[in-house]
């Protein structure tokens, strides 16, 4: 037997020598430019082949079994500039030595990188999660008035629009409720500890660089509320490379007596940058609609005046290649507005006041060496809210103050070739005071998280499987539960030019009860329930992503998702109205996205479609297996953008199918399907040193009358015009 093994071994060695003599090799070392340190986990491969390798812990790489011929070699690593060498010649039986020096390159947000999906900087095309990014260019092109408008065409998104400009707008992802979507500002939660949700109308777009939408459960990264997904609003950073002073002024006019004024100024001196901006919005807001009995009516008491302030300061220090910087941001939003409520009953004089302050300090930089980075963040938010309505029995006067502060530390370490680890912990304090009853609630929460990204090569760098397991532990003083949220994501990538991906995510998420759920003060009819458990969501999705070099870059993504939710918190009457963990639901569906450019740099087309089947699985015979309220089965978005030299023309179409408004799915009070078309024309011109950007929009082009929420009409056709002068 041992003789046989020896013979086989000799044969294998001989055959491999013989085979290797038919091929060539390329080997060498890759180092970091400024430090001369070897770089690990750098991808080195031959373009348009399946042949490649990655550097080891000493920076060495070796690509073997290369058929003789001429190739183009590519060397790349996220956070470094990419190198390409053409016409390298590989000869039979020879080893070609090629060393490379990569230079660190600041990661910009507009190069297909997500910071939300893995908590690190990852290429969108290589993460298992379904991610969409609305970047600065898209925001400028579509000129949204609020966060809801910015998000409304993203796959998987349904915006619940309660009416005019000042009315509440909330979001559902993959059929979740609005409080099951976690909204982040620079990585920190904005969801109200009192109600659990966020009014997208109250989130300023001032100073926003981009918005990332990660669909699917993500409590393993971000904790409570991330059952449907996560939306991360990322603040604009001053760009110290643009030295000097620049400023711009934007003025807008729109239907329904709306106008806006937005001055901003930027100073960039050496390694520091300061950006300050202000937005004033005033809208009379009244619009025409048809009431429930077919009579024409006017939606009065819809006025709003709001002011946004933004101040951003950034200072880079040390070696700029190490990306060490400290940024400070301050935002204030305040508004006073009418609160007409529904049209039945209608409140003609109810008013609402809001004031939000948000302060955040973030330090990021490399520590020890190039393979470890640190992110430190401290933040403070407060929010004051007042509502007055004398048109109900006895009248309503509500005043609330919410305050939040916290700290988070996060490390990212490259621990081996193609393996990185992101880990950290945080602390957060929330308090809420009812300024009428002086009812006061507070909670302190702590968390630990870890995310691993590992790339396993199969045959070559062009066939890889990336695994992204993540785990988070949360606890808080509110109910002392210890919640562990796991998630595993995997993506199989193959090909380069014709790149195809197969992806899978499985995870468990949760939504913690709110202050209202737990501590609603006892009165004649209602009482909070301090014994509530969190809502849980077990979700998984599987999908394909194709990126092909046809039609100037075709992108197609299709994903099946399913989320089973238990312990849903529903307010029910027992002896009194109180919240209980009683309901179950299941959301499942398919998301399809398509992007292409039929005419290069002239016409971009994108479309997405979501089929959603969101069902109530509670025991009640009337509501069991019924479709959840306000969840359309079909959502379609189509966008076409025409790019001319000075003009950009964008057309957007949305179709939302029928939605039920009550748990028993009474057809009589369901909302009819609707389709809306918006058109935007932007014109850019430059005279001497002044850049002028004109924008003309028609929202609801065909003046369709529709409702997103029952008894909450939305405005008809709306014209918007704005001009921006930049010096």
């Amino acid at each position: 037997m041992s003789q046989l093994i020896k013979i086989l071994s000799v044969l294998i060695v001989i055959s491999s020598i013989a085979l290797s003599e038919d091929y060539g090799k390329v080997s060498g070392i890759v180092k970091c430019g400024p430090t001369d340190e070897p770089l690990i986990a750098v991808n080195v491969y031959l373009k348009n082949t399946h042949i490649g390798s990655a550097t080891d812990e000493n920076g060495n790489y070796c690509i073997q079994q290369i058929p003789p011929g001429k190739y183009e070699i590519i060397v790349k690593m996220i956070g470094f500039s990419q190198l390409q060498r053409k016409f390298i010649e590989v000869s039979k039986g020879k080893t070609l030595t090629m060393d490379f020096i990569l230079h660190p390159q600041a990661i910009t947000y507009n190069n297909g990188v997500t910071v939300t999906a893995t908590r690190g900087h990852s290429l969108i095309s290589e993460v298992p999660s379904s991610v969409n990014v609305i970047d600065k260019q898209e925001l400028e092109l579509k000129n949204p008035q609020n966060l809801a408008e910015a998000l409304q065409n993203v796959p998987g998104v349904n915006i619940k629009d309660y009416g005019g400009l000042g009315n509440t707008k909330s979001i559902s992802l993959r059929g979740s409720s609005d409080s099951q979507v976690l909204i982040l500002l620079d990585g920190q939660r904005l969801n109200s500890p009192q109600s659990g949700s966020v009014d997208l109308n109250q989130i300023s777009l001032e100073g926003i660089e981009k918005i990332e939408v990660v669909r699917g459960g993500n409590s393993a990264l971000y904790g409570s509320d991330a059952i449907g997904g996560v939306i991360n609003i990322i603040s604009k950073k001053a760009d110290p490379d643009k030295q000097g002073i620049s400023s711009d002024f934007k003025f807008g006019l729109a239907s329904f007596g709306t106008y806006t004024a937005e001055p901003s100024i930027r100073f960039n001196i050496k390694n520091s940058g300061i950006t300050a901006s202000y937005k004033y919005l005033s809208s009379k807001g009244d619009f025409s609609y048809t009431d429930n009995y077919g009579n024409p009516a006017t939606r009065v008491n819809s006025d709003i005046i709001s002011r946004d302030y933004y101040l951003g300061i950034i200072h880079e220090f040390g070696d700029p290649h190490y990306q060490r910087n400290l940024s400070l941001t301050y935002k204030q939003y305040n508004s006073v507005q009418g609160a007409p409520g529904t049209i039945e009953p209608y409140y003609y004089h109810a008013r609402m006041w809001n004031r939000d302050n948000k302060i955040s300090a973030v330090y990021t930089g490399k520590i020890f060496n190039l393979f470890h980075s640190l992110r430190l963040q401290s933040y403070y938010y407060d929010s004051w809210y007042k509502y007055k309505n004398n048109e109900t029995a006895g009248g309503i006067l509500s005043k609330y103050t919410t305050q939040t502060y916290g700290n988070e530390i996060q490390f990212n370490s490259v621990v081996g070739p193609q393996v990185s680890l992101t880990y950290g912990s945080g602390f957060r304090y929330d308090q809420n005071r009812d300024n009428i009853t002086q009812n006061f609630n507070k909670q302190t929460s702590y968390y630990l998280f870890v995310v691993n990204e590992s790339v396993v090569c199969i045959n070559s760098l062009l066939q890889t499987i990336s695994f992204v397991p993540s785990l988070r532990y949360d606890t808080d003083s509110k109910y002392m539960n210890h919640i562990v949220s796991p998630k595993l994501g995997a993506i199989f990538n193959f090909g380069e030019g014709w790149k195809s991906s197969l992806k899978l995510n499985v995870g468990k998420s949760y939504r913690a009860p709110t202050f209202n759920d737990l501590y609603w003060p006892e009165d004649a009819w209602t009482i909070g329930n301090p014994d509530l458990e969190p809502e849980y969501g077990n979700d998984w999705d599987i999908g394909i992503r194709l990126q092909y070099p046809i039609l100037n870059g075709l992108y197609f993504e299709s994903c099946y998702f399913e989320s089973n939710m238990t312990n849903l918190i529903i307010w029910q009457q027992v002896d009194k109205w109180m919240p209980l963990n009683v309901d179950k639901s299941r959301n499942r569906g398919i998301e399809n996205s398509l992007k292409l450019s039929p005419i290069k740099e002239f016409l971009d087309i994108s479309a997405n479609y979501m089929y959603l089947d969101a069902r109530n699985l509670s025991e009640s015979p009337t509501t069991h297996n019924k479709i959840l309220v306000y969840r359309p089965k079909h959502t379609v978005n189509i966008s076409a953008t025409l790019l001319l030299k000075f003009i950009q023309l964008n057309y957007q179409y949305s179709y939302i199918s029928r939605r039920f408004t009550d748990p028993s799915n009474n057809w009589g009070i369901s909302l009819d399907p609707y389709s809306v078309s918006d058109i935007t024309v932007n014109y850019n011109a430059k005279i001497i040193n002044t850049q002028m950007d004109y924008s003309f929009q028609i929202k609801n082009l065909f003046d369709h009358e529709y409702r997103v929420i029952r008894n909450m009409p939305v405005p008809g056709r709306e014209y918007r015009f704005s001009v921006k002068f930049s010096i």
Partner: protein, 339 residues
Amino acid sequence: MKKLIVLGLSALFLFTLFIGCEDDPETEEAPVTATALYVLNSGGQSISVVDLETGTVYNNVATVGTWPNQLVFKAGKLYCVNTGSNNIQIFDVDDFAATPEVIDLGSGHNPQNMVFVDDDITYVSCSLSESVVKVNVTTKAVLEEIDAGVGCTGIALAGGKIYASNTAYNAATWGYGPGTVTVINAATDAVSSTIDVALNPFSVGVAPDGLVHVVCTGDYWSAWGKVMVVNPATDTVVDSVVTLGSPGNIAFSEADDMAFLTIWGMGCLTYNTETLAMVNDTSNYFLGKGGTGAAADGDGNIFVSVWDDDQVVQLDKDGTVIATFNVGDKPAALALKVE
């Protein structure tokens, strides 16, 4: 081959894009029946019809307005009082598919309940405007608005007078002031007197003997239920029944001289309208669930809506369940059609 894949995927995308055909409407048409129980489903904002001859239930046959509170069957028509919509809808019970007529009472009224004095004239209690509104349902005209008290809610007709109960609810303190009943002469529309009753007079009914029974719910907290009996001849409280619990609506069975009080989550309390003695009190209430709307027919049947279970239960005077009907979402009020 690759282009074929792309074309195939694009076709798949387009297919799924337009697969979204609209579903067919899910509505039921109720046949014309001699006897029927109409159920107001407050959650589903709809009406269910129970054919009492066959026991068949037709759900969601018509859509009602916002915060529907009461159904009244009168002269072949069904009236729905919509508190949030500030209106009264009039349905043709032989053709629920027809668009209902609407009587608009105007913003700021919050109508609660209505009572007819004849086939044309009705009085509507309005909690927010603290008034009683007189309406001609044929012309759909508001004829008069009469000041009542804070939180005007219950309403009944006895001896040619309207009895409107005022809960005196104070939203600022979540409490109740002294309960009163405003008495209006239906001939002159003048307030003839105001009667002091117990806390939170939520509903009013007229017993077979003609006495007015005012159901005082209490504050759900520390003061408990009581029924004040008013003699319409003198407009004075002549007796009372301590019911305990927090009773809401009242229905009378002439056949058994019984009054049935709905009580949330428990079902019904009952008492004898002649002796005013409790038959089923908080220690032996019947049904054990539900307790929103109630209606009684002339044959001794009592119907009680069960909010949580989306059911209406038919019982006899002893509380024995005769039938259970699965109706729409959150049934809150009932009306009987008996020919």
